[in-house]
């Protein structure tokens, strides 16, 4: 028995259903199997979502709430979530204990590489020039021999050269699938898993060109078919890979989150400033990242109740007396202040006064356990149709340009699960159940 899990970062069930007639490989699997919505974790972001899928643990249980997490209660102590942060056994660890070999390629959250019974090529966000990115290290020599250099991802993402970017994504995808084909052919494996980042990169740049419902959609755009063409290319690469798998290999195709039009951004710290929750000694002359303002001593902590972080979702931290170095919120008033903030963030309208539909999550009500230091509040502006901007200096709250460059898509809470043979399941499945689904295919009932 062999199982191959093909991860496609950010593939959205609705968009894929529309594209499926153009994608013979995926359509073929769907015909003989199942196509389900896969409910992601909160937040539905590459890190931690893939490792949540692989461990069956939610972000609270893992203590990993995003790419960066508070390592302590200082104002600057944000640590990158590396493989070392994921201490719960992943599906390949459990398979290894049962004597089964795994070959793993590009799974986000596996850098730096940790030992595995089998072979591992680290995934995003490994630094571009990383040299020790495989387990064992000698695998890097094989990769050089097989395909030359290995590309972790696109090299230059924030660029106005959309044609050039498309080339980059296609090159990176071709490179990863070329390596995948060699790995499944040359190495011993019972479980093969890979994650391709290309779909997510294409969504962020070409979603408005593709989606007629996007406010920025231009029917005359030269890139109107870029996303569809990329999916065709991806489907072809997937077909080549699957054709090289030993007969009888079971196949799962999964994504970690979906995608939706990005309508704009909320400058969360501008709002906190305007509402009196955040205080600065001096308002910046130009948009400046909150980290820089904190580092340069511009934040007046003696008058600051809360500050926020940007990203596809917002995170708000309270400045609590006895917890943060210069905290002002009395611990006895923590819940009251947090509830007030949550209520006001939820009610924040768009620039025309219309409801945004923002959702605010409390970590302790969202997760089965809360390890590490979570944000005090997790904020989905416009239910993730708006991103969170951490920068200050815009003199306004609502923006229709990203503070890191052009971006037309945000993440959506459901990804996909396509399985062959068919799964006897409801139309929506939870990402945290995928690990047990994989183990059950190998006849392993281990839990935990």
């Amino acid at each position: 028995m062999r199982l191959a899990l093909i991860g496609l970062d950010g593939v959205d069930p609705g968009a894929l259903a529309q594209l499926l007639p153009d994608l013979p490989t995926l359509a073929g699997i769907v015909r003989g199997g199942s196509f389900l919505r896969l409910r992601s974790v909160d937040p539905p972001i590459t890190v931690p979502a893939w490792m949540c899928m692989m461990t069956g643990k939610d972000p609270g249980e893992l203590g990993v709430y995003g790419f960066r997490n508070r390592a302590d209660h200082s104002y600057t102590g944000l640590a990158l979530a590396t493989s070392a942060r994921f201490t719960a056994p992943a599906v390949w660890d459990i398979l290894g204990r049962h004597g089964l070999f795994s070959v793993l390629l590009g799974i986000p959250g596996t850098y730096p590489p940790k030992p595995v019974r089998g072979r591992l090529v680290s995934g995003f966000p490994a630094p571009e020039a990383a040299t020790d990115y495989t387990y064992p290290t000698s695998l890097a020599d094989d990769i050089r021999r097989w395909i030359g250099s290995y590309a972790f991802d696109v090299r230059e993402f924030r660029t106005e050269d959309k044609a050039g970017l498309l080339d980059q994504v296609r090159t990176a995808t071709a490179n990863r699938f070329a390596l995948a084909r060699r790995m499944v052919a040359e190495l011993r494996w019972d479980f093969f898993a890979m994650v391709e980042m290309g779909p997510d990169r294409v969504h962020h740049v070409f979603w408005a060109d593709h989606d007629p419902t996007h406010p920025k959609h231009d029917p005359g755009s030269a890139f109107r078919d870029a996303l569809r063409d990329y999916y065709r290319f991806l489907d072809h690469k997937l077909g080549e890979l699957l054709a090289g798998l030993p007969a009888g290999t079971q196949v799962l195709v999964a994504s970690d989150h979906g995608a939706q039009p990005m309508l704009g951004g909320i400058a969360v710290n501008e709002w906190l400033l305007q509402e009196g929750y955040l205080a600065l000694h001096e308002y910046p002359e130009r948009p400046t990242r909150i980290e820089a303002l904190i580092r340069e001593g511009v934040v007046d902590w003696s008058r600051t109740i809360a500050w926020g972080e940007g990203g596809y979702y917002g995170r708000v931290f309270l400045n609590v007396a006895g917890r943060e170095p210069a905290g002002v919120v009395p611990p006895g008033r923590y819940e009251e202040v947090r509830a007030e903030l949550a209520e006001r963030l939820t009610a924040l309208p768009d620039e025309h006064g219309c409801p945004l539909g923002t959702r605010v999550l409390y970590p302790e009500r969202t997760y089965r356990a809360v390890r590490g230091i979570p944000p005090d509040l997790i904020v989905y502006f416009g239910d993730l149709a708006w991103r969170s901007l951490g920068t200050v200096g815009w003199n306004r709250i609502h923006l229709h340009a990203n503070d890191t460059g052009p971006d037309d898509a945000n993440h959506a809470p459901c990804g996909i699960l396509i399985a062959e043979p068919r799964l006897d399941l409801e139309e929506e499945y939870g990402i945290l159940h995928v690990k047990d689904l994989i183990l059950s295919r190998f006849g392993i009932e281990e839990r935990g």
Binding site: R68, L80, A84, P127, T137, N402, T404
Partner: protein, 82 residues
């Protein structure tokens, strides 16, 4: 990359490696175990097993250098994650 643990050090540098002695019958048995597996040698297999064992009791996690952290941070920001 400056991985602090010798476990993750560059294996091409002989000075980072030591020789352990095991009984030959055990070596022969291990050789048979390793045959036709993903492991290329008894050495690789034994290192894997020992790493696994040590990781459970010690946990010496791989880390990133300050420079790598900065590269990754900039990259995440460009990609819109931060």
């Amino acid at each position: 990359m400056n991985l602090s643990s010798a476990v993750y050090s560059d294996w091409s540098m002989p000075s980072d490696r030591v020789t352990l002695k095991i009984p030959r019958p055990l070596y022969e048995r291990l050789r048979r175990v390793v045959e036709d597996t993903g492991y290329r040698s008894v050495n690789e297999f034994v290192v894997h097993v020992l790493r696994d064992l040590v990781a459970e009791t010690e946990g010496d996690p791989p880390t990133l250098t300050a420079r790598e952290v900065e590269i990754v941070r900039r990259r995440l920001r460009r990609l819109g994650y931060l």
